[in-house]
């Protein structure tokens, strides 16, 4: 007799990487147990399930652990083969989606810390570079996904939506704590996309509450880089 589908997610409430997995599980309608980790005092389970990195998120499916948010997303899509699919079916489309998610994570998100760490002219330069990269992203997405883009209300969320939404929908918290880096004037397409994503019911349900998130960001960033 097949074991019941037991899904446990180890995460932290403020981590966008963990939110990616939560959102994916919700999109697929997969019931799961959530375990909130204290990263200053990691549980034995977490250290056992992710011995290489000792990080969240970790998804444990029928006792088998999977680590790394994007790996987990692809796993969820393959294991729960039902609709809605998170990634496109066509191999070339899949390659494009993976390319842009890679770009978003490694080029765009990597530019946030330099903004946080700097002040004055250095920071202005960092913000400018950030906006230019967002422009490259916008143009690339527009060119590679002409039918999909911009995101329409009521459409099911896909891999790219999940990654961009969980990272950027709380942008107002970043503006409050660090600096204004997003604007409809500089990046109209991204802002329209983020706005639409913010209104999606599953995104609303998944994102951390604004005020709580602001406090967490202050604690994380301003204390480290006063």
């Amino acid at each position: 007799m097949e074991k019941q589908n037991e899904v446990v997610l180890f995460g932290t409430w403020a981590s966008a990487f963990c939110k990616r997995v939560e959102l994916a599980l919700k999109i697929k309608g997969i019931p799961y147990e959530y375990v909130e980790e204290d990263l200053t005092n990691k549980s034995e389970s977490l250290l056992h399930y992710n011995p290489v990195h000792k990080k969240v998120p970790v998804l444990v499916h029928n006792g088998k652990p999977i680590s790394e948010s994007l790996v987990i997303l692809e796993y969820i899509d393959e294991c729960w083969n039902n609709t809605p699919k998170l990634l496109p079916e066509d191999p070339y489309q899949r390659a494009k989606v993976r390319f842009w998610v890679n770009f978003f994570d490694h080029q765009i998100m990597a530019r946030l810390l330099p903004i946080i760490m700097t002040r004055g002219e250095e920071r202005e330069k960092a913000i400018k570079e950030f906006n230019e990269l967002l422009k490259v992203f916008e143009e690339g997405i527009n060119k590679d996904f002409p039918e999909e883009f911009p995101f329409l209300e009521g459409k099911t969320l896909g891999y790219l939506d999940i990654v961009v939404g969980t990272a950027l929908c709380n942008y107002e918290a970043f503006h409050e704590v660090v600096d204004v880096v997003f604007s409809p004037e500089k990046n109209p397409v991204i802002m329209a996309w983020v706005k639409a994503l913010k209104n999606h019911p599953l995104m609303k349900e998944t994102l951390p509450p604004h005020d709580k998130f602001v406090d967490k960001m202050r604690e994380k960033y301003l204390d480290q880089y006063p």
Binding site: P51, V52, H61, K64, I66, S67, E68, L70, V71, I72, E74, Y75, E78, C79, P91, Y92, R94, A95, R98, F99, N102, F103, V136, G140
Partner: protein
């Protein structure tokens, strides 16, 4: 799949080799275009406008960039001689190690490109990477893929040849056989796989090229 396959690459790049190995393991005919990175072809710039880098695979006129993304595409388009396992759990495990290779691999190149404190840190990071692979990646396995090589072996290919070249040029031994017995055995087994053996860049030629580049890098960083 009757449409033509072209690969833009450079002979000494481990990322370029990853794609060559995958195509040859699957018996996919392709046209190879050697790029001169100081004078990139207009096709390369057209096919990879964002990064302007190799490798780029062009299949039926459509371009795919980033070596590991190319490999997943190749795997999906040409399922013969699979490089990824079938079961989702094992596929997730393979993808975990691919991500690890992509994230931690650059440290060995930092060892190559730098000196002083920056290099010391990169040496530490590289050793940490090797220790993690030794402890968790190759337990009871001949290859990362099990009994035959798979996508993770290909992802870690740079450890099999390029790391040794870096060690010789920089003059620091990182992968000592007695400290990394599993990895050491894996390197030997990996390089004996016929397709890999026949498609590794010549080590002596690599030494000349990489030595030259390192000298240029260090001179320019001294002067700047």
């Amino acid at each position: 799949m009757g449409e033509e396959v072209k690969l833009h690459g450079t002979w000494a790049s481990p990322f370029s080799c990853r794609v060559i190995w995958a195509l040859k393991l699957k018996g996919i005919p392709y046209e190879y275009i050697e790029e001169d990175l100081s004078n990139k072809s207009s096709q390369l710039l057209q096919h990879n406008p964002v990064h302007k880098k190799i490798p780029v695979l062009v299949h039926g006129g459509k371009a795919t960039c980033e070596s590991m993304i190319i490999l997943e595409y190749v795997e999906e388009m040409w399922p013969q001689n699979p490089l990824l396992p079938t079961h989702p759990c094992e596929r997730a495990d393979a993808r975990f190690w691919i991500k690890f290779a992509e994230e931690k691999g650059p440290a060995m190149w930092t060892v190559y490109r730098t000196s002083g404190e920056e290099q010391e840190k990169a040496v530490k990071d590289t050793l940490e990477m090797l220790r993690a692979i030794e402890a968790h990646g190759l337990v009871d396995k001949k290859y990362f893929g099990g009994d035959k090589i798979g996508i993770v072996d290909i992802a870690f290919g740079q450890i099999a040849q390029w790391l040794g070249v870096i060690e010789d040029i920089v003059g620091v031994k990182l992968l000592e056989a007695h400290k990394f017995p599993r990895l050491h055995a894996w390197i030997k087994n990996f390089k004996e796989v016929p397709i890999i053996k026949e498609n590794l860049p010549d080590r002596d030629e690599m030494m000349v090229l990489f030595k030259h580049f390192r000298e240029m890098l260090l001179t320019s960083s001294r002067d700047s």
